[in-house]
Symmetry: C3
């Protein structure tokens, strides 16, 4: 469900970094019970002439575009809490490395979503727990 | 209106495949009367170290991010039907080829949309039929 | 806040063009008081076999996907006005150069957004004006 698109300047992350960062992101969602395989992360490295912040070529910058599908927020206060927890998640991979970062999250309709051609189980259900345990979609 | 972004692992689709798949996607929308040129498909091939599923490099994977603008769904049941019809559309290009697939659809505000600098005609209108017939935007 | 993803065919824009275009886009938002550094623009050049319009390889085409976060529209009429102002913004960079263009804008929840690990100030606030003046995020 979550799809993370990570735009970054050259050299921000090597192959090992990307894998470790994607595992941290995955852990953020598995902690609330979601199957690990729901979490898709795409890294896009851009040359500075194609990645501009305020009209200037990006320098040591990471711009996250995150889509949440399976679970939606409930009101402004919870959204702020989610944002704070995402800051804690990304900080070791951004600010602590001297990288400027911005993120935003969109929430999209749950019923317009399919995983391996199957309708994903209800959030928090026993079936979802089975998917999480198997770490793959299970036919009914 | 629909914008399909298709993230895939190397070798999933060749140039001929991409064109044929994009034509199938286009047919899905022209069948309800939309002009063919509304349908934009972008394929992104990613190296596995930049495309991770559950924290692991993607293997034979296709992740669709779809945006619907011109026509919106009406309630959860219709959204499920749309998802089922999209599964039927992509299956020959994914599961039937041994590719793991996930998609989600977002719906965005119709009035925040312009085609060739023109406001697109109302869905189902005679003017839209003229655009579809000409397969290009027509000034009023 | 605004994230502009600009898909284009090869040769549409050189490095100087991209910077000048990104500055024009930035000016569109700073005119309403937003800090310049909120404006992120990503250019994606695609080979025509990976960028299809109506099932055909794209020719001299620009497809904009725009995300608005900090400021949302208020009703259909205002959305139409925003679309008209965006047409005026992009026209010198698209139609006037013989490029076919389509754009759509999505609006995403303001509270699910962080800039440099900080909660951005309220739109129109004195603190926002200070961020704009400094052209960087300021800790409270």
């Amino acid at each position: 469900m979550p799809l993370w698109t990570i735009h970054h300047t050259p050299g921000a992350y090597g192959a090992q970094d990307k894998r470790a960062f994607a595992r941290d992101i995955t852990g953020y969602y598995t902690r609330i019970g979601l199957p690990a395989f729901y979490v898709v992360v795409v890294f896009h490295e851009h040359q500075p002439d194609s990645f501009l912040v305020g009209g200037e070529p990006a320098v040591d910058t990471v711009r996250f575009a995150i889509e949440h599908i399976a679970v939606h927020s409930d009101g402004p206060r919870q959204r702020q809490q989610i944002s704070e927890s995402l800051v804690a998640l990304i900080k070791p991979w951004t600010k602590d490395r001297g990288l400027y970062a911005e993120f935003h999250v969109d929430e999209t309709p749950r019923e317009l979503w399919m995983v391996d051609h199957l309708e994903p189980p209800t959030f928090g259900s026993e079936e979802e727990a089975r998917w999480a345990q198997a770490n793959r979609p299970l036919s009914r």
